[in-house]
Each structure stands twice: as structure tokens, then as C-alpha cells.
């Protein structure tokens, strides 16, 4: 018995109109998804995965068209449908779960209304029927107190809750096919893990088919049965998930998997393999294999002759001339760090006279670049009027009595979920926020909390790299103007000639060629922009660079490049890092010392090695276990933090108590946990004695089931 697949796309081609001509964007893509199946669609930004996903819903940009092929839902072609017919299918049989739930929800209506309007439209329900249906759906996505949540507006909900609302909206009509467009990319790993469980369960229950679009190979491995790898609008490989991770065959897949940093102990001396070059724009694809220019095993033939998508065995397809050799393991596909091979000269403006490497820095330099003692920061205040009206206290203590020391030439990693205070702490150190309390010193000189009180020399020593380089580069300045201005403002170069020389050095240091001087940011890719941001941060040879999620907005292959660069720059410029990330894989690659923060407090600190191995704080344990792994041998522990953190100012006990899967009793809620020393300055703040914690974590004792439902924050 062959079951009718729910979605079939056959030889689908999509074109875009650029000026007066049509450019082919999606080329000959075929996909089938059966009932209950989750199909992964992987690709980097610009690969066309979102275009394809939306096109499968027959939703195209005004300047796009389907030039070839067919899309069938339950055997019926969608391409012949009129717009009103599509309106009856959208939201009923074919639903979208979008990437950014806050942006996808209308800010002016309650979430209940936005869920209810779907059934009012498609099933002709009355207002009250649709509303109670919406509340029931919210309960189904495990929101406790669904009635109250339905009355809320999108901005009043946390990211995880917003995502649940969007899922409820999509499943409200029991659709046949769901398109999940990077639905958890904007979430914390812990929230992501919970949402992924929910997807799996609900999709199974509804027997709906789903297309899961993601750039995160770990998520795809956890979620999907089959996956398709898209590169430059073409399918590179399509196969059952298990096989791909065990034995990837396509060189591109191999490269993607290799460039993901692993949570590995002692990995900090290695370099990440990277895929050389950048993806070509759609208009400049050659006649050969689209991946050939970046492929380490490409032959001459690969440049001239396009490979076919061939079936290897049972549903496993690959588009590569050399798959036979790779599959037979006679042809190793090795990616190195291609940037490391570059031989461009590099020297440091500040220390260029005589000395060349950081090891030669004079002995008297202090051991710690930065010492921050007992820093606290509270946001919001209570005005007289608020007190008169007896409005609730809206103050949030973002950072609570935190001490951090950054050792010279090392990297301090700061991890935690959003709302953990890690960014606020960093901003206090840089001076973008003024700490309420605490004492900071930089290179043994007192560092005043307010930026305006800091002497120029100190300001120069701390620089920051932000998450989104597109937002931090002035679109109206060329890269050269930008670096020149930075150098001049920071007084980092003595003469105009030195400025030009330094700019050239900086560009070389971030492996950008000289002609980038005259380019504007919009001519650069995301990774290149971040490299410019790095060059700018290093312009004045700072002692401390604070990097706030510098790779979170980037693809894995680009992330690898940036992480390698950060490593190089640290060594060559003699800087130290405060590296903030929610991605524990990226942090582990760079950091020597880790601090785990939760709700403004430090829960655990120690060397990266110690923090990642047991015993660790139950919160750290949960963070690590929530990372979707790409390692086929790794068994996920699946610790799920169900409740979401709530921000309250006064609580006497452990801040993690409400969510802790290893909570031992009232003591956790009532008393502040003690610091427990695990040796080598590795410290854990927990009521559970370390021996016991170690025992619990080593024999894999299943964690106690926490609350079943989410409590709205």
C-alpha cells in the first residue's frame, strides 16, 4: 500500500525579476512529504530556503514567478488555484509557523483574537465559539491560565510564549501541512528544547506533514526524519537524517557539519575548519556544479559539467560527481581553516617597535586586565506619582552583586539565557550603562562607572563588538572612512601616514583585501560586516574587547570564520575577551574561563573544562543538555526547563529554584544557596552538596518531572 504523500513538489523552478530579466533562483527542486513526516530544509542565508518554503505555500514575492514544475497538496495542484481559492487553503490546510513570532503577530490585537480569527474565517464559527477554541488551543500548547493569556497583547508575552501562540494559531484548523520557517532561531536553547518537544508531539498527534526550515543542523537532526540540503537554490543532497549525520557524502554537507564547534573539553587549541569563499549570487552561477568554487575536492569537470541529483540507495540522493569515491571512503574531504593559510603580514601599531608578539609584553603588566567587584545594576525606578497611585514596583535588578575578573590574554565566557543579565553586565563594563554599585579596575587603574568620567586613555582600552553588524556600521561611510574616524577619535595613530598604514593592517588582520577601503557596508556580506566590526574594535589595540553575541546572527560556516579570527586577533593583538553568548558551543571554543549567569547572579564559574564536566550547577547542566547536537553518537539527556524565568526583585532563595529539576525542597526557595568550592577555583552556587550533585549527574538519574505547564512570566 502506497500512501499518497501530502506535499509533492516536482521540478520546481522559481525566478525573480531583476530589472528587465528573469533570474532563476530556485532550480529544479523536488520534494515529497508524507503524513506525520517532518522534512528538514537546511541551507545558509541566501540559499533560497525561505523563498522555497513560502513558494511551497504558493506565496511568492510580487516580482517572483514559478517558471516550471508543480506543487501538489494531497494530489491537487496549487499552481492552478486562484487567489480566493488559495485564501481558503491558507490557514486551513496549509499553515505557516514564522521565524519571529513577535513580528508575525499584529501588535494591536490580543493573541486570542488573532488565533480565533482563523477559525471564524475558515469554519464560520461565531465569535464566542472561536474564542473558546482559541483558549483550548492555547491550553494544548501547554500554556497554563490560557484564558488570561488569550487576553494579552503579543508584546506582553515572552519569546517562548509568543512562539506557542503562533503554533496554536497554525494548528487551530488541523492543517495538512505546516511550514516551519526557523521557528526557534530567536529563542534560548532551553526554550527551544521545550518548543521542539511540543512540535514533535503535536505534529505526531495531528498526523500533519511538516517542512522544517532551519540553518541549525542540530535542530534538524533532532526533529526530522528526512532532510534536504539547499545551496544556491539547488538541492545538494536529500536523505534520511540518520545517514547524513553518520556519513555525510556531499562535500558541502561535510563542510557544514565540520564547521560547527563542539562542546568539547580541551578544544580551545584547535581551529575550526571553514568552507573557503562565499556563496555566489544567484545571477552569477556558472554552468558547472554551484558548489565547485568552494569545494576542496572539485575537479575540472565540476566547473564545466553540472552533476545530476543521483539516487545512491533507497531515498538517499546526492548531487556530486565524486560521491562514489567519497562514499567508498577513498576520497577524504578535509576542510582546513582556509584563513590560517594566508600569509599576509601583520603587526601591531601600538607595540610595533621591536616587539612583535604578545609574549614579549613587559613583565610588570597586571595579571588581570579587568576586575569588576560586586557590580549591581537596577533598571526602572518608582516615581512619586507611581507610588501615589500605588502601582506595582517595576524595578528589575538586572545584575546583582556580580564579580568578574578577566585574566590577561584570556577569554572570559559569559553564558545564560536572555534576561540573565549578561548583556547588562557587559554594558556596565563598557560604560554604556552606569553600574549602580561596584568597583571596577582596568589594568589596575580605577574604572569609573559612568562613561563620561572615564579618561580617554581608558575608553580606548575597552572596545565592543555587537551582535548585528548591519546595525552597527554606518551605511553612509565607507569601510576606510569608518576605520579612519575610529583611529582619529581614539587618537590611536600619531600621523596621517600611520593611519593609512594601520587601516591596511587591520583589513589584513581580518582577511579583507585592500579594496574594501572604498566599499560601503551594504556591499558586504554579513560575515564580512562582522569582520569590519572586529577591525574597528581592534583599531586602537584595546586591552579588552567585549563581544556580545558576535556570531549569533551568522551562519555556521561564517561563524567558524569569525571564531577563528577572534582567536587569531587575541593572540596577535594581545587582547583579552569578554565573550557573551547563549551558544555554549561557540563559547566553549574560545573561552578559558566561564561564568554562568541566571537572573543577574552568577550560578557557577570555573575553567571551561570544569564547567562543562560534572559536577555542574543544575542550570548549567540543563543549558548544556538543551543544545541540539549534530554528533550521531551523542545521546541527548533531555533535561527540560519548563517554566520560564520570571523577573522579580526580592527573593531570598536560589533564583533558579522555581525551575530547577534537581530542587531538593523548601530550602532552595527560602535560603540563598552557598558557594561550594570544587577545586581549582571552580565554584558552584547550590544547596546540593557537590558529591551528591556529582553522583546524580554521573549515573544519569532522571530528573524529577517539573511543572507540566508554563507559568506566564
Amino acid at each position: 500500500m502506497t500512501k499518497q504523500p501530502i506535499l509533492e513538489a516536482e521540478h520546481l523552478c522559481i525566478d525573480y525579476r531583476l530589472g528587465n530579466q528573469w533570474v532563476n533562483a530556485i532550480r529544479d527542486v523536488s520534494l515529497t512529504i508524507g503524513a506525520g513526516e517532518i522534512h528538514g530544509l537546511v541551507g545558509e542565508s541566501g540559499s533560497g530556503k525561505s523563498t522555497l518554503a513560502l513558494a511551497l505555500m504558493r506565496y511568492l514575492a510580487p516580482n517572483a514567478r514559478v517558471s516550471q514544475g508543480d506543487i501538489r497538496l494531497d494530489g491537487v495542484s496549487l499552481l492552478s488555484k486562484s487567489r480566493p481559492e488559495m485564501e481558503r487553503i491558507w490557514g486551513r490546510d496549509l499553515c505557516l509557523v514564522p521565524q519571529d513570532p513577535l513580528a508575525a503577530l499584529n501588535p494591536a490585537y490580543t493573541v486570542g483574537e488573532q488565533i480565533a480569527e482563523v477559525t471564524r474565517q475558515h469554519q464560520g464559527l461565531s465569535k464566542s465559539e472561536a474564542w473558546s477554541g482559541a483558549v483550548a488551543m492555547l491550553e494544548k500548547v501547554r500554556i497554563s491560565d490560557a484564558k488570561a493569556v488569550a487576553q494579552k497583547y503579543p508584546h506582553q508575552l515572552s519569546g517562548g510564549m509568543q512562539q506557542r501562540v503562533v503554533i496554536a494559531m497554525a494548528l487551530n484548523t488541523r492543517p495538512r501541512l505546516l511550514i516551519l520557517d526557523e521557528p526557534t532561531t530567536a529563542l534560548d536553547v532551553t526554550t527551544q528544547a521545550v518548543i521542539l518537544d511540543l512540535f514533535r508531539e503535536l505534529l505526531h498527534e495531528h498526523q500533519a506533514a511538516a517542512l522544517y526550515v532551519s540553518h541549525d543542523l542540530g535542530v534538524i537532526r533532532e526533529m526530522c526524519q528526512r532532510m534536504t540540503v539547499l545551496y544556491c537554490g539547488e538541492v545538494m543532497a536529500s536523505a534520511p537524517v540518520a545517514g547524513v549525520y553518520q556519513r555525510p557524502i556531499h562535500p558541502y554537507t561535510i563542510g557544514l557539519l565540520a564547521s560547527i564547534p563542539r562542546v568539547e573539553i580541551g578544544a580551545s587549541n584547535t581551529r575550526l575548519p571553514t568552507i573557503p569563499g562565499t556563496a555566489p549570487s544567484l545571477a552569477q552561477r556558472g554552468q558547472g556544479c554551484v558548489f565547485a568554487p568552494r569545494c576542496p575536492v572539485a575537479l575540472d569537470r565540476c566547473y564545466t559539467e553540472k552533476p545530476e541529483l543521483e539516487t545512491i540507495i533507497h531515498e538517499r540522493m546526492v548531487k556530486c560527481h565524486r560521491w562514489g569515491e567519497i562514499d567508498a571512503r577513498t576520497l577524504p574531504v578535509d576542510y582546513k581553516d582556509f584563513l590560517a593559510e594566508s600569509k599576509e603580514p601583520f603587526f601591531n601599531a601600538k607595540r610595533q617597535s621591536g616587539t612583535e608578539a604578545k609574549q614579549d609584553v613587559p613583565e610588570e603588566t597586571p595579571e588581570y586586565v579587568l576586575k569588576a567587584q560586586r557590580v549591581s545594576k537596577t533598571f526602572g525606578g518608582r516615581s512619586l506619582l507611581k507610588r501615589l497611585l500605588m502601582q506595582p514596583d517595576s524595578r528589575v535588578q538586572a545584575v546583582k552583586d556580580v564579580s568578574v575578573n578577566v585574566r590577561r590574554y584570556s577569554t572570559l565566557g559569559l553564558v545564560g539565557e536572555s534576561g540573565s543579565g549578561k548583556t547588562t553586565l557587559a554594558r556596565c563594563i563598557v560604560g554604556l550603562e552606569t553600574a549602580d554599585e561596584g568597583r571596577m579596575t582596568l589594568l589596575d587603574a580605577a574604572l569609573p562607572p559612568a562613561l563620561t568620567d572615564r579618561p580617554a586613555a581608558l575608553k580606548r582600552e575597552i572596545q565592543m563588538v555587537f551582535q548585528n553588524p548591519s546595525d552597527t556600521l554606518n551605511p553612509y561611510q565607507t569601510i576606510g572612512q569608518m576605520l579612519r574616524r575610529t583611529l582619529e577619535r581614539l587618537g590611536a595613530a600619531s600621523s596621517p601616514g600611520n593611519v593609512e598604514k594601520r587601516i591596511a593592517e587591520l583589513l589584513a588582520a581580518v582577511r579583507l583585501s585592500d579594496d574594501y577601503v572604498n566599499r560601503f557596508p551594504n556591499e558586504l556580506s554579513g560575515g564580512e560586516k562582522q569582520r569590519v566590526a572586529l577591525a574597528r574594535a581592534f583599531a586602537a589595540s584595546p586591552a579588552l574587547v567585549v563581544a556580545d553575541e558576535p556570531t549569533s546572527a551568522l551562519d555556521v560556516s561564517v561563524q567558524a570564520v569569525i571564531l577563528n579570527l577572534l582567536k587569531d586577533l587575541r593572540a596577535r593583538e594581545g587582547a583579552s575577551y569578554l565573550f557573551i553568548s547563549h551558544d555554549l558551543r561557540a563559547v566553549s571554543y574560545l573561552a578559558d574561563w566561564l561564568i554562568v549567569m541566571y537572573q543577574g547572579q552568577i550560578m557557577e564559574e570555573g575553567t571551561t573544562e570544569h564547567v562543562y564536566s560534572i559536577p555542574s550547577h543544575p542550570y548549567t547542566e540543563a543549558l548544556i543538555s538543551a543544545i541540539p547536537s549534530t554528533d550521531p553518537l551523542e545521546q541527548n539527556k533531555h533535561i527540560r526547563l519548563i517554566a520560564e524565568p520570571n523577573q522579580s526583585t526580592e527573593r531570598s532563595g536560589c533564583p533558579f529554584a522555581g525551575r530547577c529539576p534537581r530542587q531538593i525542597g523548601r530550602i532552595c526557595e527560602d535560603e540563598a544557596p552557598p558557594w561550594r568550592e570544587a577545586g581549582d577555583d571552580h565554584r558552584i552556587r547550590c544547596h546540593i552538596p557537590l558529591d551528591e550533585l556529582k553522583k546524580l549527574q554521573s549515573n544519569g538519574t532522571p530528573v524529577q518531572a517539573a511543572l507540566d505547564k508554563v507559568v506566564p512570566a
Binding site: W90, A104, P107, A108, E117, Q121, H122, Q156, L389
Partner: protein
Amino acid sequence: MTGYIIRRVLLLGLTLLVTSALVFALTQIVPGDVARLILGRDASPEQIATFKAQFGLDVSPPQQYVNWLGRFIVGDWGRSFTGGNLPVRPLVLERLGNSMRLALMTLLLSVPLAVFLGMIAALRENTWIDGLVSIGSLAVVGLPEFVTALVLINGLALGVRELGLPSTSMVPNNTLEDWVRQLILPALTATFVLLGYIARLTRAGVLEELKKPYVRMATLKGLPRRVVIVKHVLRNALLPTITVIAISFGWLIGGLVVIETVFNYPGLGSLLVEAVKQKNLFLMQAIVMLVVTIYALANLAADLLYGVLNPRIRLG
């Protein structure tokens, strides 16, 4: 929200207090002695002293301000210097009523039309419809009011007599129909001034909202285009328009001097010009205070409405 309203109302009070001082100061620095100007060059010192005593002008300026403000608040707005020394208040309030009617009529005509045109232009971006709306509305805004007014008088009142639109407001108006007829041409003239502005703002607002992911989401929920536009897009796109409408309302109340003059319409604007010419102090002060109050109230109403329509402000 309660705290917000209270804060805004307190701020409104403060604004009015500051304006009252400014208004008073302005009337003080008008060159020339008021009493002499009113009574003529031949008035004797005794006559002038009597005049000053009668109108309370014989005390120090700060004292005059306090007296005036105190009386103004309790509703005694003083008497006119001219025309039989009638109390100012009934005269001003009558004119205010007229101005209100004209302003409301104008908004009734201009807002729906402008929003409609702006929306159409946005939905048909870069087509000839868009071009027509954008260029047309700009062309109309550029015309001086008296030109539009004269064109309308010639075209509609005199050209198409069947419409029965009076070209002047100096006709008896007993019925509602008369009222409306009388308002149409001046309101239409003011509409032309506002139209382009509001239409362009709406167009920009709709275009910006159309780009947002929630519009795509609403479409992919299977909602018909009409629902997506009216329920989802317009609701958010019109938020900035509200503020502009409020500011326009203030202008409609006190600033329609030209239109009121051309149509002989007895509004507040022309009365103010009259009062300034006559150095009719209390009349001037009363009108300016009133116009400022209405401006401030309209803005407060707009801000509150903005808050009601925008949950992000209302619920923080």
C-alpha cells in the same frame, strides 16, 4: 494608563498656565497706550484715568495678570473696549461654535477621503493611480487657500447653481440643511489644504505596515485581502495620522482667517484679527487662550486615543 492620564492632565494644566502668562505678556508689549488708542488723541487725562480704572488697567502688570487670570478661570472674561463694552464671553463662544462646526465638517470631509486616497495609492504603489494621488494632492496643497476658495466659488456656487451652495455665509440659516449648505464650500477649501498632507501620511504608513511580517502572516492565515488591509494594516498605519488630525483641528479652530474672510464666515480666526486690529485686549486674550486650550485638548485626546489604539503604550 491611569497614571499616564493623570500625568498628561497635570501637564496640560501647566501648559495652559505658561501660555496664559505668554498671552498676557504679548498683549502688554503691543506698542502704544491702549486707553489713548481707544479714546482718541484728544482724550483728557481724567478720561484716560477713568478708562483705565474701569478696565482694571491702573494697577501693575503682574497684578493685572493675576486679576485677569483669576477672573478668566471663573468665567468672567472681561468686556470689550469697543462696541458698547459688551461682555467678551458670549461673543467669543458664539464664534467658537461656528468655528467648531466648520472644523468638524472639514474633518468629516477630509479624513475619510484622504485616508482612502492614501490607502489606494499605497496599495497601488508606483502605478499611475499612486502618481495621480501623490502629485494631485501635492498640487492642491500648494495652492493658496483664497485661490482654491475662489475656484470653488466660481465652479460650484456660481457655475452650478442647481447645487444651491451659497458663496457667502451672510444668508439666513434656519434649518440644518442651510447650515450644511453654508459650510460645504469653506469646509471644502480647508479640506484641500489638509487632504494632501493626510493622504501622504496614510500612504507612507500603509506602505510601512505592508512590509511587516504580520501582514504576510495574516494573508497566510487565509484572511481575505479586504480583512488584511482594513483590520490589520489600517489599524496600525493610521496611528500617526491621529496626531496630525489633532494638530489640524487646532488650526481649523483658530487659523482659518483667509477662508473665513473669503466666505464671510463668522469664525474665531477672523474675530481674532479684528481684536488685534482694535487692540481689544480682553477679546484677544480670551480668543488666544481658547485656541490654545483647544489645541492642547485635541493633542491630549489624540495621545489618549493613540494609547487606546496602541496596546504597547497602554500596557507598557
